[in-house]
């Protein structure tokens, strides 16, 4: 009961925070950054389900992000189909690809799984680049239309901000639901010991495949939102380094934590903005921060910050206790 209450409070706080942000922030630049954080959060959420809960690493997740973006771009621009129908196709396409690829790939484990997904990501990226008659090739795909719903036109600024964070909220609720279900418990059992969970009757392969397809769907939704936000996509935005960035977001935020995904996405989106002023030294400082966070907060920022808070709390109450004693 108290668990449910806590989740309810968390969700309410989240909605209030989003509405407050949306109402108080007027500057399009800041709104745009928070919108990017939202898109990255979707990516991190999906990957976090796969990595944090099921314990399966994917180094090619940017492929699904790209599939979502390119599907909607091609359908809505080249064929003039409504973007909302394109969204359904994008998600369906990503899930289908995840099924075909996941079937053999998820039988691998550890670094081999990393290698398998990496290879998949590279192949998809090469397709984006080389199939230039359809995808526009390396120069990119121009002229993606804006999203429209009835009389609302979603453009950079408040309307898009609310759209993205609304989607993030729904995604968080769905993730929570999955985790609280039988499936969620089975997932965690895979993370802790695949053989043991197999022994108690969990069909681990199907389960891994399902969660892989789910995270692919989230990735493709993020790609859809990205494509209609920037209105231009190119293969560079979905390359290997983006996959690595996604893994970094999950790990640095804190694995197996929904809020960790938001934290990780925020850090990796905001850091480059803040570091702009360092110019040439940006890379050095970015690398250093990544290393330092991982060395001193191996469980990620969520756990690390809680630790620091609890520690300072404890030491404060501890010192109080000492004062009492001396009195």
């Amino acid at each position: 009961m108290s668990q449910q209450k806590r989740i309810f409070i968390e969700h309410t706080l989240f909605i209030i925070a989003v509405i407050l942000c949306g109402l108080l922030i007027e500057n399009t630049y800041y709104l745009q950054i928070i919108t990017f954080i939202g898109i990255n959060t979707l990516l991190a959420l999906g990957l976090n389900m796969l990595m944090g809960y099921a314990g399966q690493v994917s180094l090619g997740h940017a492929a699904f992000y790209g599939i979502g973006a390119y599907t909607t771009a091609i359908l809505s621009t080249t064929f003039g189909i409504s973007p909302w129908i394109a969204l359904v196709c994008a998600v369906g396409g990503a899930i289908f690809v995840a099924f075909i690829v996941g079937l053999p790939t998820l039988k691998l484990s550890g670094y081999y799984l990393g290698m398998g997904t990496l290879g998949f990501g590279m192949i998809v990226n090469i397709i984006f680049r080389e199939w230039s008659s359809v995808t526009g090739g390396s120069s990119g795909f121009v002229g993606i239309p804006m999203l429209e719903l009835g009389s609302i036109l979603f453009e950079a600024g408040k309307s898009y901000f609310f759209l993205v964070w609304g989607v993030v909220f729904v995604a968080i609720v769905i993730c929570r639901r999955i985790l609280a279900s039988r499936m969620g418990r089975a997932l965690r059992s895979i993370h802790d010991g695949e053989n043991a969970s197999m022994a108690v009757g969990v069909n681990t392969h199907i389960l891994k495949l399902q969660i892989f397809m789910f995270s692919a769907a989230l990735g493709s939704i993020a790609g859809f939102l990205y494509a209609h936000f920037v209105m231009f996509i190119s293969p560079d935005s979905f390359g290997f380094m983006v996959s690595v960035k996604m893994v970094t977001m999950v790990v640095i935020g804190g694995m197996a934590s929904v809020w960790g995904a938001i934290l990780g996405a925020s850090l990796l989106t905001l850091l480059p903005e803040v570091l702009h002023s360092f110019q040439e030294y940006e890379m050095i400082i970015f690398g250093l921060i990544l290393m330092i966070v991982m060395i001193f907060m191996p469980q990620g920022l969520t756990r690390g910050l809680i630790d620091i808070y609890e520690h300072s709390h404890k030491s404060r109450s501890g010192s109080k206790a000492n004062i009492k004693k001396t009195n």
Binding site: I33, I233, P272
Partner: protein, 387 residues
């Protein structure tokens, strides 16, 4: 455990100490000035473009301010690095448009990063002068978007004209697998017919490939009269070296993407005999004294060398021309963006580093094919080819 926590705080404080003053100084800038934004790929794979462009812009702003600014107002440049990443370019353009409130923007350096931000400047109605080559940027014409770099269209035309004169009929092409190479390939294949040339073999290589002998072997077996390589350093230097190693005796043509002394240094002996199109900046010394561009080229070369102690490349010229034309357009506009745009569009007969610009409502690039000259590499230096 306690020690760990202390460590964490020490690191955190150290990071804060480094970041805080820099953020502080960057926000405490002069209040009243014409603000001009710059977005360049000063790091990342296109840094050979972005770096000189950024430096040139900084130098130009300094010069303008030293001579009293524009209409008595100082100019302030706010420059961001897009690292060749379209998402970063979008972020930078929003910062310039909505946080820094700039009058106009120069850059970005590459076609994808430019295309990514075009929608945003169009909507915000802020003039943009791109330094990228892609023809898609200004065709179809968008009211607020201009560009100073020569289109690949002109470079290919210049190469094909030379080939026609040398009676070359069949060519094999090898292009780099990025936006620059792809745009070049499109033009090479598209224009071939107009010059009576057939492309017998098309190959590509990755920007960081260590070896291209497989592709070259395949081109060799198609026995073309010439090979055209379209890419930016270091790939084309590898291609040139591989051609020598494989003992392929077919003349090699390169693109303007390698038109810098760096290419000769990288390719070494293998650079001998290569023909390529370039802006006039590379061959300033070889130009006739009567050439209208010679004076301005010499001044830019000397200024750049004095300030950065580095050789100029044609790429910095893109932002030079953008900056001069923009400064001229701002003059008398009182900071009104619509007036600046109109003034830019009516720029006529501006003689710049890249060539003579004549903008109009239907042409936002404004260059003609004579913006390129053909050069051959002989004895480790450039030799001007006769027209």
């Amino acid at each position: 455990m306690n020690q760990r926590k202390i460590n964490v705080f020490v690191w955190a404080i150290a990071v804060m100490l480094v970041i805080a003053p820099i953020i502080g100084t960057s926000s405490a800038m002069a209040a009243s000035a014409y603000k001009i934004g710059g977005i360049f790929d000063s790091t990342g794979p296109a840094s050979f473009l972005g770096d000189p462009e950024k430096k040139t812009m900084e130098m130009m702003v300094e010069q303008i301010n030293a001579s009293g600014g524009i209409d008595g107002q100082k100019v302030e440049a706010i420059i961001y690095d897009s690292e060749g990443d379209p998402a970063k370019a979008v972020s930078a353009v929003n910062k310039l448009l909505h946080k820094d409130n700039v009058l106009a923007i120069i850059g970005p350096s590459t076609t994808p990063t430019t295309l990514a931000i075009v929608n945003f400047v169009e909507k915000a109605k802020v003039p943009l002068i791109s330094c990228a080559a892609g023809i898609e940027i200004t065709s179809p014409v968008k009211p607020w978007v201009f560009k100073t770099a020569q289109s690949d269209l002109l470079a290919v035309a210049a190469i094909y004209k030379t080939m026609q004169a040398r009676n070359i009929k069949k060519i094999g092409i090898i292009t780099v697998a990025n936006a620059f190479g792809e745009s070049g390939k499109k033009q090479l294949v598209g224009q071939a017919k107009d010059f009576g040339i057939t492309v017998v073999q098309q190959e590509s290589f990755g920007p960081n490939d260590t070896d291209t002998t497989a592709q070259l072997t395949k081109i060799k077996s198609a026995s073309p009269d010439a090979i055209v390589c379209w890419g930016t350093n270091p790939g084309p230097a590898v291609v040139a070296k591989n051609i020598k190693q494989l003992k392929i005796n077919i003349p090699l043509y390169q693109s303007h993407g390698v038109a810098s002394p760096k290419f000769i240094e990288l390719a070494g002996e293998a650079a001998e005999g290569i023909t390529l199109p370039t802006g006039k900046i590379l061959v300033t010394k070889l130009l006739d004294a009567s050439d209208a561009q010679k004076k301005i080229l010499e001044k830019y070369e000397a200024d750049y060398k004095a300030k950065f102690n580095a050789n100029v490349s044609g790429f910095g010229g893109y932002s030079y021309d953008a900056m001069v034309m923009l400064a001229n357009a701002i003059k008398g506009s009182g900071g009104d963006k619509e007036k600046i745009r109109a003034a830019l569009e009516s720029t006529k007969k501006y003689m710049g580093i890249t060539g003579e610009f004549n903008f109009s409502a239907t042409d936002h690039n404004g260059l003609t094919p004579d913006a390129f000259v053909m050069v051959e590499i002989k004895g480790g230096t450039w030799k001007l080819l006769d027209k």
